[in-house]
Every structure is written in C-alpha cells, then in structure tokens.
C-alpha cells in the first residue's frame, strides 16, 4: 500500500471484499472505479439527489458523502446486490413492471432507499414512502410510478410472508 492509500475489508453484496484506494476517494468512487460496480450513480456530488444511495449496515446513505475508508468492516449493499442470485428482489420486479425506471439513472438509489424502508416498515403507506424517498430526485417519471412500485412490492412481500 502506497502512501496516501487505504485498504479496507468489508462485506460487499454478501461477499468478503478487500480493496485498496487513494485516501480521498469516496465510497461511490471506489465502488465504481476500483470495484467496477457502476450501478451506483454520480448525480450531484453533494448529497442532494440520492442517485448514489447504497445500504451500509442496512441503512441508506449517500456514498458520495462517505469516505470509502469509513466503510471498513461494514456491510455494503448496492443495486447489484439486491437480487437473490438470479431472482430479482420484489422491489426490482415492481420497478420494472410499473415503469418506475424511466431513464433509469436514479433507479439504483431509489431501490436501495426503498429496500431499507420496506425492511423496516413492510406496510408503509404512500405518505411514509414519499417521506422515506424524500432525498431522492427523479427528473423523468414524476415519482408516481415509483410510489406505485414500492406499494406493489410491499404487497407482494406481504403475501410471501
């Protein structure tokens, strides 16, 4: 490891992962550049749009505002890790079915944030959904289909249980 670099070990989408990177890099940059997980997106760089949201220890956080070194020892889930093997997560299915992913660029951040909501509150209503997603910007869909998708996924997950 060179001067000015860090090495961390963490669980990334279920797999033990270690990675070395320049100290100043954010988790977003390390995911995309060092680990080739480009599902998580750059949107604003200042924590104002939610496009870079990932789950760290189950909670949605903005990976553009988190130094990657802080992820040491954590469990990180990105959009690439939401599916169970080849089976899509109900939220992913619902986002695809309901047309909640239009241009799709904001979708990974919405999915990760919505997953944390349904994990915590499986019967979330429309108001709670918009509250939980308040940090995510979508410029295409008008959000309606995103809300519908979260509701559809919640209903599906409730039936499964």
């Amino acid at each position: 490891m060179k001067n000015g670099e860090q090495r961390i070990e963490f669980t990334l989408n279920g797999d033990k992962t270690s990675v070395t990177f320049p100290t100043f890099k954010t988790l977003l940059e390390v995911l995309r550049e060092e680990l080739n997980l480009t599902g998580t997106k750059h949107g604003c760089e200042l924590g104002e749009c939610g496009a870079c949201a990932v789950l760290v220890d189950g909670k949605p956080v903005l990976s553009c505002l988190m130094l990657a070194v802080e992820a040491d020892g954590t469990k990180v889930t990105t959009v690439e890790g939401l599916a169970d093997d080849a089976r899509l997560h109900p939220l992913q299915e619902a986002f695809a079915d309901c047309g909640a992913a239009q241009c799709g660029y904001c979708t990974p951040g919405f999915l990760c944030t919505a997953k944390a909501l349904l994990d915590k509150k499986p019967d979330a209503n429309r108001r709670e959904i918009s509250e939980a997603l308040a940090g995510n910007i979508c410029r295409c869909t008008g959000y309606i289909q995103i809300f519908e998708a979260v509701e559809q996924a919640a209903a599906k997950m409730a039936v499964k249980k």
């Binding site: 480009t38 241009c103 799709g104 869909t141 809300f147």
Partner: protein, 735 residues
C-alpha cells in the same frame, strides 16, 4: 400511392377520410384496427437491466487505457484570456494532454481549457494548475440592463444586445388599439418567467476513442446520435462514416442533449492529443453553468373580448434571454391556440452574459402558455364567465372541447366554488385549468431495417435512441404486432450510428417518426417470410397472416413462426423502409388540457399541489404505461417550474449562485400531487401507425393550470414564476 379509406376521429366522433399512402406500405391502422400488442400496457424491455444496475450509461463506459478529462471554466461572466498557460499542467503527474478551448469568455462557466489525465484527481489538480492571464471585461446579466443602449455589448462590436422586431402576418398597432377599445372586457398584464436548467440526472458527457484506421468512436449521453456524429465529422473534417456515435442508455436530456455539445469535441480533441480514449462527464455544477437552459421571458399581454365572450384582440410584446444565445420567443400558444380576429406580436431576444439556452421540453410553449392561460382566466373573470366556457367559445379544436368535458368531470369542476380545505382560515384551495397545444406529428426520413433469421429470430435495427421514453419497447411492440409475436421476441438495436438513420429525439418526434418505418420494414420482411413458407401451407403468400405466434393461411392451415422462418432461403431476410411524408389525415397537432387543485398556506405562502387531472391525446397510444409516464413526468417538471425552479445570477459578478440541487430546487417526492391521466384516444390517419408524440405536451399546461388554481385560491394573481412563498405573502399583504 394507394388510395385508402380510413376511419378517423375519436370515440363519439368518427368520420371516414381518404388518404394517399405509399404502395409499399401496409394499410394504415385506423379506428377499426383490432390490434393484439399495440395499445397494451407493456413494461420496458430493458427494465431488468435498469433495476439491476446492468444498464450502461455513458458515465459507466470504461475502456482500456482510458483517461479522464476535466475542464477549466471561466470564473468571470466576461473576460479575455490574454494567455492560457498549459505547460505547468502538462508536467503534472498523470497528465497526458491539455488543450486550449476558448479565449473569450462570455459567461460564467464557459470552457476555456481542458486536460486529460490518468485519474480524475490528477485532472482536477492539473486544471487548477493552468495559468490564465485574465483581462476581466464588463458584463451584463440582467435582462433589462442588457436592453439599455449603453449596456456592454455581449458579443462585442456594435450589435445591440436586443434583437427583435415585429412578427409577420399580424395586425397593425392601430387595429389592436381599435379592437381593444371596442372590447367589452380587456386586460393588460405583464408576466415574467425565470431561466431554468434541464437538470438531467446524468450530466452531459462523452467517451472518445480514435481507432487505428483514423476513425473516431464516441459514446455520448445524447438525444441525437446522428447529430453528434455530424457535429464531430464537421469539427474534425472527417467524412461522416468515419465517426461512430453510440448511446445505449441515457439519464435524461429534455432537449439539452440535442445536437453535439462542446464536451464531445473536447473529449475527442484530448483523445487525439493523448493517443488514448478520454472520458469527460460534466459535474453537477458545470451542468448548471453550461448544460443548457430554458430562456426567461417578460410577456406583456393585452387582450380583449366582446360581450359574447369571443376574443377580440391578442397583443403580445415579449422579450427574454437565452444568455449568449437567442431562442426566447414564446408566442406559439398565443398565436395559434384560440380564434382571434386581431393578433399582434413583437418579440426580442436579449443577449446577456449568461450560458446559452438549449431546447427544453416544449420550447417557448411553457412560458407562453402560462401567460396566455393566465390572461384567459382574468378575462373570464371580467366577463363573469366560467373559465372553461370562455375557453370553449374561442377554441375550434373539437378534440380539446371534448377533453375539457372529460377533465372537468374528473376534476370536480362543478364543485369549484365550494372546495374544502385542511387548515381552516390558514389554508385556501383553488382549482385551475389550462389548455395544452403541441405538434408531435413526426417527420419523414427515419429508417428502420427488419431482419428475420431462419431460426425465427427478429431484429429491428434503427438508428434512433431511447432517451428513457421507451422507444426500444414501442419499436418491439410495433414489430411484434406485425408478426403476431410478443414484444420480448423482438430484439431491438438502436443507439448506434452504424444503424439506419433516424432523427434526434426532440420535438416529440421519435415515436411518430420511427414507428411507421418500423412497421413498413417489418411488413416487408414478413412478406418475404410468407413467400418462403407459402408452399408449405399450400397457400398464396397474399393469403397468409401472422398471428398468435403462427403463420396462418386463409383456409385455417397454420405453422409455427419458427417453422415458417425455416423456409427462408439463405440466412435471413432483411428489409429496410423509410418513413414517408405524413398523409393528409384528421388533425396535425395534439390538443389536451390539465386541471390542477392546490392548497395555499396563507401564513407561509406555501403552495401544495394536491391533484392534477391531465387529459391528453397523442394519436394511437402504443403503450399506455409509457405514455402515462411521459405525462406524469411532464406534469412534475411543470410543477417544479411553476413553484420552485429558477437560476439565480449574481448581478455584480454574473455568476450563477445556486448551481447545485439544494439551492436549485427540483420537485421531490413530497411535492408530488395525485395525478389522474386520461389518454384521449384519437385515430388520426396521418401515418401507417397513427402514432403522435407525447413527450412535450404534458409540460405545456401545468404551470398555467397551477397559477390559475393559486389565483382561484387566494383571489390574487401571481404573474411572476416561480410562485414562491415570498410572492404569495406579498400578494396577501403579509408583513
């Protein structure tokens, strides 16, 4: 040309017309066509890619040996770089190329120089090391200041910043004065609208790679792959076929990504210099500073109506700024929506030291409709007429007339005088309406190729691009319809200039331009399959149809699609078609109307939009799921424009002050109303599919409908967008 009789119109109002359609094309669909795939809700074909993070955007392209570029931008609104010193930057670690872009800076954020380095951090450091000897000049960013005779000339020389004049085919000033004098009711109101930025979630960007044969490949976040190709070919003086532009997925454009952007040229220049592929994605701040915007407007409207509620005069004097560009004219709705015997328009583009405007979802119409439809409500008030009734008396579009009826029912227009509210004397509700108007009929020239292989595989090749609207999916649906297959059985190739030509995706043109070509190509290829398999079915090729996954003969004999295709001699059949001119069909534009219900907080001036009812027509709806999504999205952008968004420039320095997403406010999940969409089904007989565009229409009426609802709620009209709390508080006299 073949004469064909089509049934056109809308439910309750159909008529037969005769059109001339090209012989080679299949018979146009009309109101009587029974379709199996088209018209059904169908999820996007690439949905799985988008929800798993597999979908690749330009920002996600990673090539062997790829460098990262950063741009030095002018910190001044007007300055001249006496010199641009790149030497120090070039010696920085990892830096492989540095170029000068422009010495004359005419707006804050203009690209001056650029570098490419092995990492983004190195590129940023190198940009900071570029030495510019600036001579700071005088700028002007305020529209009114820029109009003054002594204002600094933005483009130098003697040309005034204000460039305008009277439009043609309008009445004289005297005729207007006379008409207004004779009117029973008149209004004279000045409306203003702000500059807003497109704020696409994926910024503008390119990845450029020079190939060993001297050709150039560029991955670009663009609405127009051929536009970028032609721009680059011109820029590098290459034959067009030496440039290939690819765009698989894109994170929003809204007009700002039509045509080649400067970043594409910069990336390609750096790549040539560095002899390595270069990626350049703009940052959010750059996106606000230089990624395009909707021009501002100041619109003085004088209008009159007679006792019968008929318009007597529409007079508009407008100006606005698209920064160093023009394009601020917003008279479209006023000049075309209503019947009016006397009309006059004077418009000026005001050039300022601000970043150049770009097309933005229904250019001009959003600003213009806000002024026109606010005016209509004020006039209706003076006449004592119901706003819808007043509109209907002046609107000859029978589609919109019918749409008002449907929308009014859903919006509860009858109960408008007695709306409840949630906060007693601290809240007030209002319900407003606005008309919509747009073209969206598409253009000839788009091409598509259908390749059907011996194994039954179907591929549509079309050099259009899916900008998120669902073009991939509707192309597959059109082809599937023709072939009796399911959309997922059709592989769609698009977003690559090696494919047959198609236009840029702007002007709500894509679906109406592309679908007729796809349908014609598919029908032709299907004909070849029929010829190949006719013998096996002991039938004439002319008597075969494709449905339900089979090829079926008139007598009832049938074979599965794959078996039919196995009769193809050779590897495949391939047919290409070019989209013909529009037929003289039923209607050449789209109508539509929207209703907005708002609740205004009388203490804080906060406006919450509770509900929007949107009635829109777009010819034949290929996929309601996608069409509704366009409408929802247009409404939210319109809401955001009406209530939140504005670019703010510091007058003293000309710098943009809110170039981020916290101070430049975009509607988020909590700003969202309930939305009810009515897709008003119109058979228009204009092409073989009858499809019209729906990308732009839904943003056109939203700001006006919201403004009218606010006026209804508080009894005062806000004429200046966005309708922020300070303006409501001022209108209510709160101190």
């Amino acid at each position: 040309m073949a004469k064909r009789t089509l049934r056109v119109g809308y439910p309750g109002n159909y008529r037969e017309i005769e059109v001339d359609s090209p012989d080679a094309e299949p018979a146009p669909w009309d109101a009587d066509s029974k379709l199996a795939v088209v018209g059904k809700r169908s999820p996007r074909l690439e949905g799985a890619d988008k929800v798993t993070g597999k979908a690749k955007y330009t920002a996600d392209v990673k090539l062997q040996g790829m460098l990262v570029a950063r741009v030095l931008r002018s910190p001044y609104a007007r300055a001249t770089a006496r010199s641009i010193g790149l030497a120090k930057a070039l010696k920085m670690p990892g830096v492989k190329a540095a170029i000068e872009v422009e010495k004359e800076a005419r707006y804050h954020g203009q690209a001056i120089a650029a570098v490419a380095a092995e990492t983004e951090a190195q590129a940023e450091d190198a940009v900071a090391a570029i030495e510019v000897d600036w001579a700071v000049g005088e700028h002007v960013v305020d529209v009114e200041a820029a109009r003054k005779p002594n204002a600094p000339r933005v483009h130098g020389g003697k040309n005034p910043n204000e460039r305008g004049g009277e439009a043609q085919n309008t009445a004289t000033e005297e005729a207007c004065v006379t008409a207004l004098k004779k009117s029973h009711a008149t209004v004279d109101i000045t409306f203003t609208t702000p500059v807003v930025t497109h704020s696409c979630l994926e910024s503008h960007g390119s990845v450029a790679r020079w190939e060993s044969d001297g050709s150039l490949t560029v991955w670009d976040s663009t609405q127009s792959i051929f536009g970028v190709r032609d721009g680059l070919a011109r820029g590098f003086q290459l034959p067009a076929e030496k440039v290939r532009v690819v765009k698989e997925h894109m994170g929003g454009g809204f007009g700002s990504k039509l045509g080649m952007g400067q970043h594409s040229m910069i990336a390609a220049r750096l790549a040539r210099e560095a002899k390595a592929p270069v990626k350049l994605m703009l940052t959010r701040k750059e996106e606000h500073l230089a990624g395009g915007n909707r021009p501002s407007s100041v619109q003085r409207v004088r209008a009159g109506a007679d006792k019968d509620g008929k318009l007597t005069c529409l007079w508009l004097q407008s100006h606005g700024t698209g920064g160093i560009n023009g394009g601020a004219n917003c008279a479209g709705p006023l000049m075309s929506l209503y019947n009016c015997p006397v009309r006059r328009l004077w418009h000026a583009d005001v050039i300022t030291n601000a970043s150049p405007a770009a097309a933005f979802r229904a250019p001009g119409h959003v600003q213009g409709m806000f002024a026109l439809e606010s005016t209509m409500d004020e006039l209706a008030g003076k006449l004592g007429l119901d706003p819808i009734e007043f509109r209907k008396r002046n609107d000859q579009n029978e589609m919109r007339q019918a749409e008002y009826g449907e929308g009014a029912k859903m919006a509860g227009w009858e109960a408008r005088a007695h709306l409840p509210n949630s906060g007693g004397r601290h809240k007030a509700r209002g319900l407003g309406v606005s008309a919509s108007i747009w073209g969206g009929g598409g253009a000839p020239g788009a091409q598509a190729r259908c390749v059907i292989s011996r194994d039954g595989a179907v591929e549509i090749q079309c050099g259009t691009q899916d900008i998120g609207t669902g073009t991939r999916t509707i192309i597959a649906m059109i082809a599937a319809e023709e072939l009796g297959l399911k959309p997922e059985q059709v592989l769609v190739k698009l977003g690559d200039t090696t494919l047959p030509f198609s236009h840029g995706s702007g002007g709500s043109m894509t679906a109406p331009s592309v679908t007729p070509a796809v349908r014609a190509a598919t029908a032709a290829a299907r004909g070849r399959v029929f010829e190949a398999c006719a013998k096996s079915l002991k039938a004439d090729a002319d008597n075969l149809t494709a449905k339900g996954g089979n090829v079926v003969a008139k007598g009832g004999a049938s074979i599965p699609w794959a078996e039919a295709c196995s009769k193809i001699a050779g590897a495949n059949v391939s047919e290409q078609a070019t989209r013909a001119q529009n037929f003289r069909g039923y209607k050449d534009g789209t109508a539509g109307c929207q209703f907005a219900e708002v609740e205004v907080d009388l203490e804080t001036g906060h406006v919450q939009v509770l509900r929007v009812v949107a009635v829109h027509d777009c010819g034949r709806v290929v996929n309601p799921l996608l069409a509704e999504s366009q409408i929802n999205g247009g409404i939210i952008q319109g809401l955001s424009y009406a209530l939140l968004e504005q670019r703010i420039l510091d007058d003293a320095t000309g710098r943009m002050m809110n170039a981020n997403f916290s101070d430049y406010r975009i509607a988020g999940p909590k700003e969202i109303p309930e939305i009810s969409v009515v897709l008003f089904d119109v058979s228009n007989g204009r092409t073989n599919t009858g499809v019209m565009g729906i990308g732009e229409p839904p943003i056109v009426p939203t700001p006006a409908a919201i403004a009218n609802a606010v006026a209804h709620a508080i009894g005062k009209r806000i004429t200046d967008l966005p309708i922020t709390p300070d303006k409501i508080l001022a209108a209510l006299g709160k101190k």
